[in-house]
Amino acid sequence: MTRSIVLWCPRWPVVAAYRDDSCAEASPGEPLALIHSGVVVECSLDATAAGVRPGMKRREAHTLLPALVLIPQDEHRDRAAFDRVLIELAEYVPQHAVLGPGLVAFGARGLERFYGSEEAASRMLVDALVRSEPLAEGRIGIADDLFTAVTAAQSTSARYPLRRVEPGEQQLFLSEMPLDVLGDADTVSLLQRLGLHTLGDFVGLGLDAIRERLGVPGERLFHLATGQSGAPLLVRDAPQDTRERMELPESCTLVEQVAFGLKARTQEYETRLRGAGVVITRLRITVGYDDGLEHSRIWNHPRFFQAADLVDRVRWQLEQAFRDAQNVEREVSPAISWVEYEALDPEDIASHEPGLWGAGPDSRVHHVLSRVQGLVGAHGVVTGTSRRGRLPSDTQVLTAWGDYESQEASGPLPGSLPSPLPATIFSTPREVSVLGQDGDEVSVSARAELSSSPAWLVSGARRVKVTSWAGPWPVWERWWDPARSRFVHRLQVVDDQGMGWLVSLCNQAWSLEARYD
């Protein structure tokens, strides 16, 4: 048993959600609830004041407080936000044991010796927490064993944020606690039905009776309840700070200037992370302009980033941003004043070490394709996957080399293009006229009937004779969303050369979508 100081941040997931940039609707000061499978799992203080409680249904919570912002729970987000706090805390306490997002334990002996007393150490921890995350609230529990310390921390209140259990008195402290703190819902429910309400009642049953009735799990609960759980405190180093902001010596407007200015420091950043035993496989690059705007993007790498790759990604991101900015009229184009790297999910270097005989042929392929990307740009080299779609352009997804493709739902799709599929799909559909025998353009009635039989396909000066056709099939996609909805008629056509074509009619205009060649 190690005497431990536990720092607990109540409602940590709420703080993490407020701090997450991707949850734009959650801003500090607004009532917020995190939901999981339709049930509130955590809510902010002002939501609690309005009567919202964890375990409530989503609709019930909304009825109580119509202004309540509901966002899904995300443990990954909570952990990432807590890691940032731990990095700050590492300046005061080098080692810690994270028990969960918002709950961390420290060895008490070293802290007490350094700061003079346990109370002083606790005050320092809470101060450091609030300095690094002003929205958070710190509660402290100190006891001889971890379970008692956590229970003590969670039994504090906002007015008395410190609960210290004197050495050797953990059993006395725990005996007053309700059974819920054991965290084993089934057993707790059983014990409550037996008429037991506190840990003291439970311990009073005696170890033999508990072991006989509940077996080994019961024995474990008994040891927890008597404050004798011998679990050692597994402390580890603080997580590596994977963010680095690089201010450029002077604001730059040229991509090459920025790349040159970043080169040496990117190398340092990469070496620092590698020295800490991690490699970057996913990275967020944020570029800051002197007019206060920021532009951020996430990059993926099939293996892991090296310093030159990082600079390349900055370069590609800036080139893309400049291309986008060409459409916007501006008098003076903004200059870049800083660039920030943030490695997301850094991975252990050991799982990426090249083998004794090199990293295999795929690393060579990657190397060559990266060189081609240097020639034609990041999005010039793509890999593709197919999926089900109703129109030819929906049947494939192209992703830049090195990026992950987003996983699409698979399975049957009603109205999808029938097999065999067209071997040529025009990346931009070509304008075409479908003419009837009389030379008039063919139209489709509201009942999906052709006004006359198609006889000619005319595209510019080219004119091919239609020998047979099938269709039209109406396709109405996303009718519920006016911005993205699409209504087209599909028509399969075979010309006198035996070539098949897929033409579609959208807004009274025919276009060639694909060729069956």
Partner: protein, 256 residues
């Protein structure tokens, strides 16, 4: 105990004796009894090839079984250049086997491609890299890609100068890669063209169901054109049965 051992010995001696009697042993040489079948011709070719020990067997990228007849070596020769017409089905059917065998393949300068159809024809798209619009850099892109890519298909680019062409072809031979170009390139090893016919569609009814393709390969050195008929439908590609298309075409012509 001695009887069987003696028998065995005599059989061995017979075998050794007959080893040197070529004329009576080869059934393939008895031609007057039945028409030589393809299998006989193949067997003879193998015997001839086995006797010609001086030439090393050329490395080829395998192709779909239905297409092996197009190529004298049975597949796409490494270091060779083939010219294709614009048919994408033909391109995919040639890339199907190499990608499935794990060879990386690249398609440069063809922005209009149907990958779903490629998968239906058996292409493993995980081994396929696309550079849809390399622009003026296409020679540099191609040269870089040839380091790792086995079969590379090129879109409609006019051939470079004779000098860079020789460099490119030399690099192909050195890297043991195959290049597929569009028509109009000089010094290609064979020209492949496709004729298409679609079945299943009538005047306003039906659905495109069966794609019959007649692929002809004309070698540069003036050998006879090799032709093979394949059928592509929702199950993929297969060899057309030898008689059916003839009847079909006659029927089709009458109807049209």
């Amino acid at each position: 105990m001695k009887g069987p051992v003696f028998l065995c010995l005599s059989v061995d001696v017979d075998t050794i004796e007959q080893m040197f009697e070529y004329s009576s042993m080869s059934p393939a040489l008895i031609v007057d009894q039945h028409e030589p079948t393809r299998a006989d011709v193949e067997a003879l070719r193998h015997r001839i090839a086995a006797m010609e020990n001086t030439t090393a067997t050329p490395r080829v990228f395998p192709v779909h079984d239905a297409l092996t007849n197009l190529f004298p070596q049975g597949g796409l020769l490494t270091g060779a250049v083939y010219s294709l017409d614009s048919s994408a089905s033909l391109l995919w059917s040639l890339l199907a086997e190499p990608t499935q065998k794990g060879t990386w393949c690249a398609v440069v300068g063809m922005p209009d491609l149907g990958l779903a159809a490629a998968e239906e024809l058996g292409v493993n798209v995980d081994r396929l890299v696309l550079v849809p619009s390399p622009g003026a850099q296409w020679m540099a892109v191609l040269g870089t890609l040839l380091d790792v890519v086995g079969v590379c298909a090129l879109g409609s680019f006019s051939p470079p100068s004779e000098r860079s062409l020789s460099t490119l072809y030399g690099r192909l031979r050195e890297r043991q890669s195959t290049l597929l170009v569009r028509s109009g390139w000089p010094r290609v090893d064979a020209t492949l063209t496709a004729e298409h016919r679609w079945d299943g569609v009538g005047a306003g009814r039906g659905l495109l169901q069966e794609h019959s393709v007649r692929i002809s390969a004309t070698p540069r050195s003036g050998h006879t054109t090799r032709v093979c008929d394949v059928v592509i439908d929702h199950t993929g590609m297969r060899e057309a049965s030898p008689l059916a298309p003839v009847i079909d075409i006659a029927h089709h012509r009458k109807a049209g």
